[in-house]
Amino acid sequence: MKNHKTIILSNQEISPGYYRMRILAPEYSRLAKPGQFVMFRVQRSLPPLLRRPFGIFRAGFMASDCDGMAEKEFIEILYKVVGSGTEIMQELHQGDRVELLGPLGRGFDLGDPHEEKILVGGGIGLVPLYMLAEKLIETSQVRLLMGGRTRNDIITVTEFERLGVETYVSTEDGSLGEEGLVTQVLQRKLDKYPKASVYACGPMPMIDAVQRICAERGTSLQVSLEALMACGVGACLGCVVKGAGHSTENPRYLCTCKEGPVFYAEELDWNRLEQQNSAGGGCH
């Protein structure tokens, strides 16, 4: 865990509205675990004020520009342009100064080696699954079920294939792969591989549906959640989710940034995850 003042190595649009940014990131190959994230800041820029959290897609080394120089260690983040921060990010270029705080959070448990693994990704939720696949494929059969609204939301699937992951694509409009929701595909795969463990990341309705399916079958499930974050290190308590057993009398909040973003399904309170009613009470 460290704050690196560093630079962008490249920043390219890979599908309409989706970008891949490569950032110089010393030590990340050794330190970053699948499912961890960084708090990203455009140096000397305001707005945006707060850093933005992004999952680490992968960490690696690349040859230096000059012969005889050490290789450059980098990470890649993939991001979707959704608001003011990501709009600024899409305009950044090679050499622009940025800051990375990380690697942060609790990543995925790799689980039993040799057991079958099913990864479920929805849109940009695919990001933390790549490093996970890199690790899991060393010992297990890995399948990726990738869903999106249209073909534009299906990104980097061929890179998973190159790792040796079996991939299944579905889109809601049928523009690529099977027409429909990724959860239909999940049902079928679990019929076929009932002992598999599931790892999921994507929009909340997808995560919710995946949780119901896995709960019914008693399938082991880890999910990676998103939350609005200010600090990323457990200090502001802005990013909490309700934990299993939460009640008004016995509240149990978990920090997405520190105790997550990856949780076992049974650690969370699924009845209340999406419920965001007002409770009153003081500020702060």
Binding site: M1, K2, N3, R41, L46, P47, P48, L49, L50, R51, E99, L101, A227, L228, M229, A230, C231, G232, V233, G234, A235, C236, L237, G238, C239, V240, V241, T248, P251, Y253, K258, Q275, Q276, N277, S278, A279, G280, G281, G282, C283, H284
Partner: protein
């Protein structure tokens, strides 16, 4: 200042140490409550020994769960929060969090609050004999549940009463933290000084609200939240200026500080120290940057002792 003297000062390390309510600080920079957790969260990024003091998250008699989510949102040059004062409770703090903080050669200031006057008093009493606690910072921006939810800090009589009652239960230096959401800050400042506050800190967040125009919902689950960050700094500087005019106790300036020049504004209007809040989220090293910048400023301006800057506003 004569150029020759200025030159001599340049070669010496300026003194940054200040004193607040009998508490000696290495420098005037400390975190603002609620933006630095219990210290341990930022220890990997920042040397806690380098700070003037450490200020904890606000603590209450019993653990507190906090509000529903979303609890935060970004606004123009600032952020709104309605965390709901989530905290582990005073006993768990003393048992589990204080030992970590006690390792450092930096005074610990414990921020606390209550729902009733009795709760305020009880928390203060429990901290009284805890070693390592250098001072208490009393957050009076909370509603009094026994009196129709009126915020202690917005009513001079209520503020006077609650501060007096806490004063009787603690021998530690008592800093009272004011809310800016009042009509006349000087009346409140005088009331808490009269009730026995050893120092005053301000400002707490300004109440604010933001709306998601697509869903037409408030962007915070609590609807209303507290605004912090660079956006509030001019208001904070003005309020600190006014409080310094009204009282004799030392004042700690808070609000939108992220660089040395921001901190200097507060010192020049008369604050003896400053707290850095939201900026910690943006840059975990923000406080060290402020401290280094203060030293550099003093050196460049030929100021041998930072105390010589405090309250030097020329009007």
């Amino acid at each position: 200042m004569a150029t020759q003297h200025k030159q001599q000062v340049k070669n010496k390390r300026p003194s940054l140490s200040v004193e607040i309510a009998g508490l000696k600080l290495k420098n005037p920079v400390m975190p603002a409550s609620g933006t630095f957790g219990y210290g341990e969260e930022y220890a990997p990024y920042l040397d806690l020994n380098g700070l003037g003091a450490i200020v904890t998250k606000g603590l209450s008699l019993n653990p507190r769960a906090g509000n529903n989510t979303p609890r935060i949102c970004e606004t123009v040059s600032g952020m709104l929060n309605a965390i709901g004062l989530q905290n582990v409770g005073i006993d768990a703090f003393i048992e589990h969090k204080m030992p970590f903080l006690d390792q450092f050669d930096t005074p610990v200031i414990v921020n606390f609050f209550g729902n009733t006057q009795e709760e305020y008093g009880e928390v203060a009493a429990r901290l009284d004999d805890v070693p390592g606690v250098g001072a208490l910072e009393m957050n009076i921006s909370c509603p009094n549940v026994k009196h129709g939810g009126i915020v202690f800090g917005t009513d001079a009589a209520a503020a006077h009463q609650v501060v007096s009652s806490v004063r009787k239960r603690t021998g530690k230096p008592l800093i009272v933290k004011l809310t800016p959401n009042v009509t006349d800050i000087q009346v409140l400042a005088k009331a808490v000084e009269d009730a026995g506050a050893d120092a005053i800190s301000l400002i707490n967040t300004l109440t604010g609200m933001a709306v998601d125009v697509k869903t037409r919902k408030p962007r915070l689950a609590n609807t209303i939240g507290g605004l912090s960050g660079p956006a509030i700094r001019p208001i904070a500087v003005r309020l600190v200026h006014q409080v310094v005019q009204a009282v004799n106790v030392p004042v700690i300036g808070i609000g939108g500080i992220s660089r040395a020049i921001d901190a200097l504004e507060f010192l020049i209007v008369g604050a003896s120290a400053v707290q850095v809040g939201t900026a910690n989220f943006v840059d975990p090293n923000a406080m060290q940057t402020v401290i280094d910048g203060l030293e550099e400023f003093c050196r460049n301006e030929g100021v041998a002792d930072i105390n010589d800057l405090i309250g030097t506003l020329e009007v």
